[in-house]
């Protein structure tokens, strides 16, 4: 168990800057997820931590010691690959045993026939078998020990990959999109299992995914990466409620956050589509800003003056909730509201309705840079304005 330090890591492939300069301190025992869209550099960063890629600049430290000069096998890490990378010609038991054999048996002891001759080797082998069995039982795959990977389902293969990583008792667990090859239902189930595993082992986990739901549900902290930059590092709730950048706000959360365009007015408010929204961001009057409101914070009411109006384009019935897809006349992006189903019994496609939300739920972002602007409400927070 150890803390991992990433100091000013840079990496380019040819002319493409995959990692621009990453600084990140991962604490001992935490579950850190690197999340971002494809191509943002998260897998590359993981591989640099593992030692499978060399960085162009910067250094990696594990447990306080710089490990840049060490081979991957000497960094005391374990990694679960996206494709699981199970040795197809070995059984599950043999697969899990590989790290132990590599570490504990010398080369001669590993040879097929000769290796069996020494009694010391026999002792080591029994110990290895015991450890393999222990891990297999922990992961509930003990009944599969004699099968080969091709006979296993996706979820079972994934557990073997995890088992092979676990058996080494590493300092840090690296996981590279381990759930992306599984079907949706299994993925949800495995999220819980991995989270449980983290709790029971207490080891530092570094997890890479492009799925924001995985990042939100499993992590102690999330590191959002975009285009080679680290945008925000914070616990899930903070990333959700308090995003540092419009890209983070748009990436995290499903359905996507609603973005409206507006300009800062002199009255301590933001003018948006002809309506004044009671938030005052810390920036000069006249700045173009973007306002973000989460779908679940939007309510549908009657259209009227002082309210943002929109036309209902589509209704999606999710059961307890309804997703209402709306279009505002001067906004290019569609608006989505998530409301309890009873409230919308009368709603029909084509209706002109008003959007109801509280100023306290509005996130303000700079119109040009996308950075989050701190702001305060100029209207009482609890009051549902524009209602």
């Amino acid at each position: 168990m150890a803390a991992v330090g990433i100091h000013a890591i840079q990496k380019s492939f040819g002319s493409v800057d995959v990692l621009k300069s990453i600084d990140l301190a991962i604490e001992d025992g935490e579950f850190m997820t690197l999340v971002g869209p494809s191509g943002c550099g998260k897998s590359t960063l993981l591989r640099i931590i593992a030692g499978l890629e060399t960085q162009d600049a910067g250094s990696i430290s594990i447990g306080g010691t710089a490990v840049d000069k060490r081979r991957p096998s000497a960094r005391d890490l374990a990694m679960v690959f996206q494709s699981y990378a199970l040795y197809p010609h070995l059984t599950v038991a043999q697969n899990i045993a590989v790290p132990l054999r590599m570490r504990n048996l010398t080369m001669t002891e590993r040879l097929p026939l000769i290796g069996r001759l020494s009694p010391k080797a026999a002792g080591k082998r029994t110990e290895i078998d015991r450890q393999v069995r222990r891990v297999a039982e922990q992961l509930d795959i003990a009944h599969l020990l004699d099968r080969k990977p091709k006979q296993l389902s996706g979820g079972q293969r994934q557990r073997v990959a995890v088992g092979r990583a676990m058996v080494r008792d590493p300092n840090v667990f690296l996981m590279d999109e381990p759930l992306s090859n599984l079907d949706a239902k299994l993925r949800v189930h495995m999220r819980t299992e991995i989270a449980d595993l983290h709790r029971s082992l207490g080891t530092t986990f570094i997890y890479v995914t492009h799925d924001q739901a995985e990042a939100m549900t499993m992590s102690s902290r999330i590191a959002v990466m975009m285009e080679g930059d680290l945008i925000q590092v914070a616990p899930p709730a903070q990333v959700y409620d308090d995003p540092a950048d419009i890209r983070v706000a748009e990436f995290i959360g499903s359905p996507k956050i609603n973005i409206l365009t507006g300009t800062v007015t002199e009255h301590g408010a933001v003018g948006c589509n002809g309506v004044e929204i009671g938030v005052q961001p810390e920036c000069p009057v006249g700045t173009a800003v973007k306002l973000g409101v989460r779908p679940e914070k939007l309510e549908i009411g009657a259209a009227g003056p002082g309210r943002l109006t929109a036309e209902i384009r589509h209704l999606e019935n999710l059961g307890p909730d309804m997703l209402v897809h709306l279009r505002m006349r001067d906004e290019t992006d569609p608006i989505v509201a998530r409301c309890p189903a009873e409230r919308l019994r009368e709603a029909r496609i084509g209706d002109q309705v008003g959007l109801v939300f509280s100023a306290g739920d509005v996130l303000v972002f700079d119109g040009k840079t996308g950075r989050r602007l701190p702001s305060h409400c100029t209207a009482p927070v609890q009051e549902k304005l524009h209602a």
């Binding site: 499978l52 081979r71 096998s73 890490l77 990378a85 590989v98 790290p99 570490r103 091709k150």
Partner: protein, 312 residues
Amino acid sequence: MPSTDTMAFGGPSPAVFVHAKRRSLAAHLTAYALSAPALFLMALLLIGPVLVVLMMSFTDYSLGNASFEWVGLANYAEMLEDDVFVKAIGNTLLYVGIVVPASVFLGLGAAMLIESLTFGRAFWRAVYFLPVMATLMAMAIVWEFMLNARFGMISQLLALLGLPAKNWLQETSTALPMLMVIGIWQALGFNMVLFMAGLTSIPRDLYEALELDGGSSSWSRFWTVTWPLLSPVTLFVVVITAIRSFQVFDPVHVLTKGGPNNASMVLIYQLYQEGFDFFRSAYAAGLTVVFLIFIFAITWVKSRVMEKNVHY
């Protein structure tokens, strides 16, 4: 309008039934027509001849004779007494036994070396593959010149080192070995290309996983990942090389004619001699049957091994 829905209410109507049957007959006829030429030729040029060869081996037919007699196993009995045949089988097996392992391992070695290079891959691949493309007959003649005791490159080189030159292809002890060298020389490149395809199909992340598991030496990588994952290719290469080596003929006919003193006599060469020099067709047919048995045996071994060992 008759419905095409055969499953509606109670089953197909009679009209539909007849229509379906007629269509399927037409489809059948088309299929037969499309494959008829191939089938006919397969029977005439492949299956038929094999059966003829089998039957002929039990006769005393010679090409040009008006008739023949059935002689049972006489040809086979003669084979067992035939020194030339015994030598031919022995030499052929020896040839296969040396050329196959040598060309397979050298091919694998070349493939692994070339695959791991950072640049120059295509160049070396072309170089090593060249012998495969060059007409064996022509290159055999070139080899003969190279081995020429007076003017060939090899004897010149030996002269430089102060060693005596030999008439490699004309001496009993070196004729067959020289043919083996030529065989290895040619087969190496072919095997190399097949191994290279096999090597590139090994997923890279297996090596990375092994690296993280602690197997960082070249030996671990070869033994734990490369060799096991290459096993289908290796099997294929071994079988193909074995079958091709078994059929060695061209260099023998041009360079040594099976000599000196049958030192380089091989099975196909004897088959050629008996069948097309001496026109003892029935005996040659018997030799062909023996040849076929060996080939089928090799193929049978391959499928047995494959059943046992294919992982994926």
